[in-house]
Amino acid sequence: MAGKWQLKDHEAERRIFNRRLVVAGTFVFLLFMALVAKLINLQVVQHEYFSARSDGNRLHSQYVPPARGLIFDRAGRLLADNQPIFNLTVVREQVGDLDETLAFISELINLSDDDIEQFRTRLQRNRVPFSSVPLRYVLTDEEKSRVAVNSHLLPGVAIEPQFVRHYPLASLTAHSVGYVSEINRRELDSLNDEERENYGGTNHIGKTGIERTYEDLLHGKVGYEIVEKNNRGQVMRRLDRTDPVAGKNLTLHLDSRLQIAAEKALGKYRGAVVAIDPATGGILAMVSKPGFDPNLFVTGISSKDYSGLITDQVNTPLFDRTTNPYPPGSTVKPFLGLAGLQHGFVDYDFAIEDPGYFRLPGVSYRWGDYTLRTAIGGGHGHTDLQKAIFQSCDTFFYDLGNRMGIDTMHSFMSQFGFGQNFAVDIDYARTGVLPSREWKRATRGEPWYPGDTINSSIGQGYMWATPMQLATAAAIMANKGKVVQPRLIKATDGVPYEPEIANPVPDVVVEDQDYWRYIQESMTMVVHRPYSDTFRDYGTAFEAIAQADRDMAYTMAGKSGSAQVVGISQEILSSEDIEVSDLNKDHALFISFAPAMNTQIDPQIAIAVFVENGEHGSSVAGPIAKAVTDAYLLDILELDFAAMKEKELQEAEAAEAAKKEAEAARLISQSDD
């Protein structure tokens, strides 16, 4: 080793090394300078750009959805409120492998194929990047904690609280209040830019009923906030906030107690009840039975539940029976009778001798009395308009209708809302059909035949009306011609709200105000005219209403009707749920208002009852109308009819006394002369 050392030139080696060291030092310095140059480029030259990028990373402007307005009934009871739920949401941009994440989540919580499918649909919608998309609604506490524990394995997945619509009365308000559900693509596309902005934080939109009609009022105005989020999308800080403006609270004319009573009164039947306050047109009750639970739709109805609702061809729970038309049957008779009086085709003394059928001159076909079809033969004998109404004599109206003609019938009846939608805020209500020559030519391409008029004059044939229209007509009758247009909305945020009426309807004017009294009296007889020795001289609904309740405190005016069932599908006939014979039974109808013929108080409620396959208007639909009227007048308004009667007697006595006094005074003054 020592030998080798001596061979080396130590000084030369040191010089070589030192030179290399200097080179190395220079390199080190230069490379650091390059690094500093790069840093200056990043931190000085591009500083603004990267600052903006950094803020873009952490700062997120997000929508703050407004609280949807609540919906109350007329007494301030909740019909729709907002309840907190916890949703599992996903920010797509922050999830690596979506399939893997979904698979992992479904290990943690119950995640149905339905949920995943709906989630994928939501993902495909137009949406703001980095916005969270609901994957599953309504997490239970256990599910929440399971997700929370694994949150570090689930970037982009979060639990978000949300307020969703809740309908405490469930199926009772399904068709009137309606429901909200997730905004779909079509609805989103129909919004203009400003509206779309306003719906930026909103997942739900009113789909039916009041929720849809007053969507603008209920929704409110979106707010904004700027938040700082971390890499996993969790909000760390709120930096700025513009508060949303909550939607307006709506008060409806609906009375939930009456709604419950009406639903109960329908009992086992499918059908509809519409009750209107004749003074305002406010809809007090609007029940279509069977209903469905609107809460199911709010957070996305499962396809199983939904197909259950749409495949039930017999009960058709989604079908709103209050706003869809049926043949009105004999319920139109009071209105036709009024038309007869107004246009001079009948007067109080006019009467026919009813043989039980009607025959057009020169035509052999006999129009039988529909009412008597199942009862013993023969007609009603000597029949005036009053009897024709309380006995529901078809022959009388065949004759009246025939003489009146379809043109007069059409123009008079349309004043009561037949063939039109008088409702102010139920734009989806069907108009039914009030036939006319033009209508038949336009829809059937056929001329109007005299026989068509005869069918129409007992509310059959081409004539179709919705329970809503019948209740409206009954209210106008109760008002003696003052037209009220049905409405659900009563007030917004406690301030009375008068909806804009696009085409106001004029009142029904008749030549002699006494015609109203006459028809109302006839309708009262339908309910109250008792059995007597005279042949067929009782009200058709007497047995089922006034006789059934001998202590009935108030007077009720009514008219029954029944309508033939048309067009039952083969599918329904093959259904095993219900006896086919039941589905062939007539629909039962009843219209009424009360209290009637009361000097102390105007009518408070007008009602139309429709009972699907109820068969008998008087005995099935009549008692339902009576029960609803009872509930409203006696239980809700708590009217004291005994006191009213007493006052009426006192007034009559006072009037009698005054009359006597005046008579006496006249005699005295005469004797003075």
Partner: protein, 382 residues
């Protein structure tokens, strides 16, 4: 020899020079280097505290590792540099044996089968030891040959470097293999290898790199290269780290956002913010000034290392000291260049700042060797 050394040193205790100086010589310490290291360590712990969201555990653990490192450094410094020269071949062969042993009974961590679990010893990586055994052996080999080295010596040097590097590559730890190879190559460069050879080799590497890229490079390596040229080709995948780290650095500006206010790191946008990408945290919170301050500290330590190499008493000492210093620089530069986007991403920590375990101890062994070299050189001068 060690004892003699110690006795000779101790006589200086009563010398007229300052007592601190005497004490440092007694402990075989180089005060400027020690101060530089301690400053770096303190600054590192400060940054780590912010980068790990004030997690006391992480910072404490790092402080403990650094303390152990300092103790190891002092122990290593006590050995005379001649001891290392004499034992270099034996140590090297023992190291190689351990590397081979790893191939059979090694434990795998993070995809690299480089850990050895021997009974009675803490778990360690033999490849780490090679980081100073390779330059030691090459320095030993070349220092006993005339410089600049001839082809024959270069060939044997290459064998000494490539043998362990190859074994480490087989362990699937390319990063460490490159570091081990570089530490040996630095010795050869400092030993005066002709520039023509260096340049030829460099050009050969350049020419070979496309072939490497096409036939040998693994998918993730190709990705890193592509990402270096265009981070935005996959902004949420391969490019994510570098994009976020550049955003952090750039948004820091000249003065930084303030300690603990780095949004990028505190909101978890920077991945591995307390290991490989800790520079981004520093740059975001302390700005350009902070980074320049750190570079200044590094330069101080590096130039002290160069000074020690310069004043080494023999070729072995000089070569070893130079190589250790340059390897340290290589670490620092590669990490900083990678994080700021000057180089493709290579998984290397920032020395003394990033969180780490055995790699930190290895650094301190290197510092210990520097101190050993310097304190022994100084004895001869006085």
């Amino acid at each position: 020899m060690i004892n003699q050394d110690f006795i000779r040193q101790s006589t200086g205790f009563f010398s007229p020079r300052s007592r601190a100086n005497t004490l440092s010589r007694l402990l075989h310490t180089d005060p400027p280097l020690l101060i530089g290291i301690l400053l770096l360590c303190s600054f590192g712990l400060l940054i780590l505290n912010s980068a790990s969201e004030g997690s006391a555990m992480v910072v404490q653990r790092q402080a403990i590792v650094m303390t152990i490192g300092l103790v190891v450094m002092f122990i290593v410094a006590q050995f005379n540099v001649h001891f290392f020269r004499q034992w270099a071949p034996s140590l090297y062969i023992a190291g190689l044996a351990l590397l081979v042993l790893v191939l059979f009974i090694g434990a795998e961590v993070n995809g690299a089968k480089s850990w050895l679990d021997l009974p009675g010893l803490p778990r360690f990586q033999p490849s780490e030891i090679m980081k100073f055994l390779v330059p030691m052996l090459v320095a030993w080999y070349l220092s006993s040959r005339p410089l600049p080295p001839g082809f024959k010596h270069l060939f044997w040097s290459a064998v000494m470097v490539l043998l362990p590097a190859g074994l480490i590559i087989v362990q699937n730890d390319t990063g460490t293999a490159i570091m081990v190879a570089m530490s040996g190559i630095f010795v050869v460069l400092l030993a005066g290898i002709r520039w023509s050879i260096v340049i030829t080799g460099f050009i050969a590497l350049l020419l070979a790199s496309p072939a490497w890229y096409l036939f040998l490079a693994q998918e993730h390596q190709k990705n890193r290269i592509l990402t270096f040229f265009d981070p935005y080709r996959d902004p949420t995948g391969a490019g994510y780290n570098i994009i976020q780290s550049q955003i952090a650095i750039g948004s820091g500006g000249v003065y930084g956002k303030g300690y603990g206010n780095g949004a990028q790191s505190h909101l978890d946008f920077i991945p591995e913010s307390n290991t490989d990408f800790i520079l981004a945290v520093l740059a975001e919170e302390f700005g350009l000034l902070g980074v320049v301050f750190l570079i200044g500290l590094y330069l101080f330590v590096l130039f002290r290392g160069f000074y020690i190499a310069w004043s080494g008493k023999d070729t072995f000492s000089r070569l070893l000291a130079g190589s250790i210093t340059l390897t340290f620089f290589f670490y620092v530069f590669v990490n900083m260049a990678m994080v700021s986007g000057l180089m493709p991403v290579i998984g290397l920590p920032l020395p003394l700042i990033s969180r780490g375990g055995t790699a930190v101890i290895t650094l301190f062994v290197g510092f210990g060797l520097l101190m050993s070299i310097h304190t022994n050189a100084r004895r001869r001068i006085h």
